[in-house]
Symmetry: C3
Subunit: 134 residues, 3 copies
């Protein structure tokens, strides 16, 4: 298991971590199997979406802002309940196929770390590689 650490520069930001995960997969020398990612935080998430046009990330944040209201009657005192809700909606884990020694992503897919309660230093994602021996 390897840990990727990242700093986030805004309250809400989507960061493409595909190259950093790809490095861990390459270093593992596993040819076929699964790559599992885990986000250790309850106000952040992991998701897959388009990494070609940056407007897709902008639209995803805007849509989540409309889906999860900021002015709802939350009881949690830290003023970050919408971030907790968004974390559960997107999820904090991903499992991605490894094929031919590489992440098996679709043409437009990137791995996105979603910060919903930043800026923060030292956000962490673990990467575990399972060798299927295939």
């Amino acid at each position: 298991m390897q840990i990727i650490t990242l700093d986030t520069g805004a309250r809400e930001v989507l960061i493409d971590i595909t190259p950093r995960v790809a490095e861990v997969v390459a270093a593992s020398q596993v040819k076929a199997g699964l790559c599992h990612l885990w986000c250790y935080h309850t106000t952040a998430a992991l998701t897959i979406n388009e990494n070609a046009d940056p407007d897709v990330k902008t639209d995803l944040l805007m849509a989540l802002e409309r889906i999860v209201g900021y002015d709802w009657p939350y009881q949690h005192a830290e003023d970050n309940s919408p971030a907790h809700v968004k974390s559960s909606l997107l999820g904090c884990q991903l499992t991605i196929p490894v094929n031919g020694g590489k992440l098996e992503l679709g043409r437009w897919q990137g791995i996105i770390f979603a910060e919903f309660d930043g800026p923060r230093q030292g956000r962490r994602v673990s990467v575990s590689i399972i060798n299927s021996g295939g």
Copy 2:
């Protein structure tokens, strides 16, 4: 890793792919482990829900249409931003137990490929089987 290919016949449609995944599991001859599914597209998704009453699928699409507005101020030019958002809400991956050589699904559970930007030809889902040796 095996690839399931499917064509989708409408802009939004939910397709039960359980039988096709079950075929791959049977052919693998793995008795116990995990079956991992990956959708290669950022305007489609994979989810588990009831496959008995087709109204559940209809209701799920209707609800997502209300949750993710079509008239919001999206910036992505392809006019399919709601599809990208829905893809992240449901997710593009599933891991399902394999037990006794079969998919370990609940009584009402089916594996659903969710098309949000169709109709499309050649949508792809990969199936990877991990043998736990159990």
Copy 3:
């Protein structure tokens, strides 16, 4: 594969099952790998969120109630369509790293079984441990 069984005491309730999953991981004696959880039901879900302040759970249920309307024109006759939608939004599966013989959770993370159509007896979650040999 082990099965965790639980009864839910309300129509909607979030139950922390972390200690019960931790027991299964400990009994497996696996030091490094993955712990996979599967919920067998289409009106319940599994999610990760904060288990320190119980208000976070209250806020998550309240937010989901606002995100998925009860008075929308659902067709499914059992009057539980919002529960089906919430199940797909949060998802019915989780894969969590195992490291040093323990669940590798963040400081505030707990494993939550989400009931959306209770009260029910005998809700089931399977736990599968994959040994990565690491």
